[in-house]
Symmetry: C2
Subunit: 139 residues, 2 copies
DNA sequence: TTATTTGCAAACGGTTTGCCGATTA
DNA sequence: TAATCGGCAAACCGTTTGCAAATAA
């Protein structure tokens, strides 16, 4: 398991204080806020500012884009407007259409079918995005 | 098979000349441009202007949003930036990461699994979005 | 030292909106 | 006629960028 900082070094991304701080916030994200956490840039800036209030939002934008290009983060445009980020670890999302809550899940069977479909169409699957939208079943 | 105009009447959407023109362009979209057509607002405005050059882009924005709320159109944010629209008829997309070409497909097995996953998580599936990204296999 | 990075504020680009005359039902 | 709509231009909002000072390697 390598940290964001380690990945940066592998990719030759310069490690500045600001980037280290942002990396730290991102790494802690799930532990502190749970697996339903998909912060937008504004929210990240707020969290980062608690550690270092000199970091500008422009830097957060630049860093988040950099990390995305390095494959460290994935960007979501769940409903467009504001992009939201999380550490890249390949799973899907079920979005509660009433509360907006986001549940993460993985399903090997669906993945297998996705590969088959792509192949059938003459393509090699490189990436995928699956979002389910649903409402809670009350018991 | 009911037309966009019919759907508007069902939903109580007032049928103005501008909306009729835009509806016409949207209906013809697939026949004229093929199933890979997912025009953005700018492109729609261009096409619409050929029939009536008095229609402003603000009207296209308003109409497209109206049609989306009425369930007539679906909005895609494939890579964010510009939203793209097409008539709502439930299928998925495979996007060629090299050319940007969009292939539409349906897969009943995947859909079945999606329903099961949602149910397992305690949700009733209301909507879904599946995008595959791939590169062409050369033979 | 030298290429990169940052903070700031201004620019950008897609989208929305206030106003008011025009149009639909 | 009354409610709604459309055109125009200005506002909006998330994001990007040019510049000069600061910093990593």
């Amino acid at each position: 398991m390598n940290t964001i900082e380690e990945k940066c070094q592998q990719k030759g991304v310069r490690l500045t204080d600001q980037r280290k701080t942002i990396a730290k916030i991102l790494s802690e994200s799930k532990e502190v806020y749970g697996s339903k956490d998909h912060p937008d840039v504004d929210e990240l800036h707020k969290r980062v500012s608690a550690l270092d209030d000199k970091i500008s939002i422009a830097t957060v934008y630049r860093t988040v884009k950099l990390f995305e290009e390095a494959g460290i983060l994935i960007k979501h445009d769940f409903k467009a407007g504001k992009a939201r980020y999380e550490i890249n670890d390949d799973h899907n999302h079920l979005i509660d259409i009433n509360s907006g809550e986001i549940i993460e899940f993985v399903d090997k069977d669906i993945e297998k079918l996705q590969n088959e479909v792509a192949k059938k169409l003459g393509y090699k699957l490189v990436d995928h995005k699956l979002e389910l939208y649903g409402s809670k079943i009350k018991k």
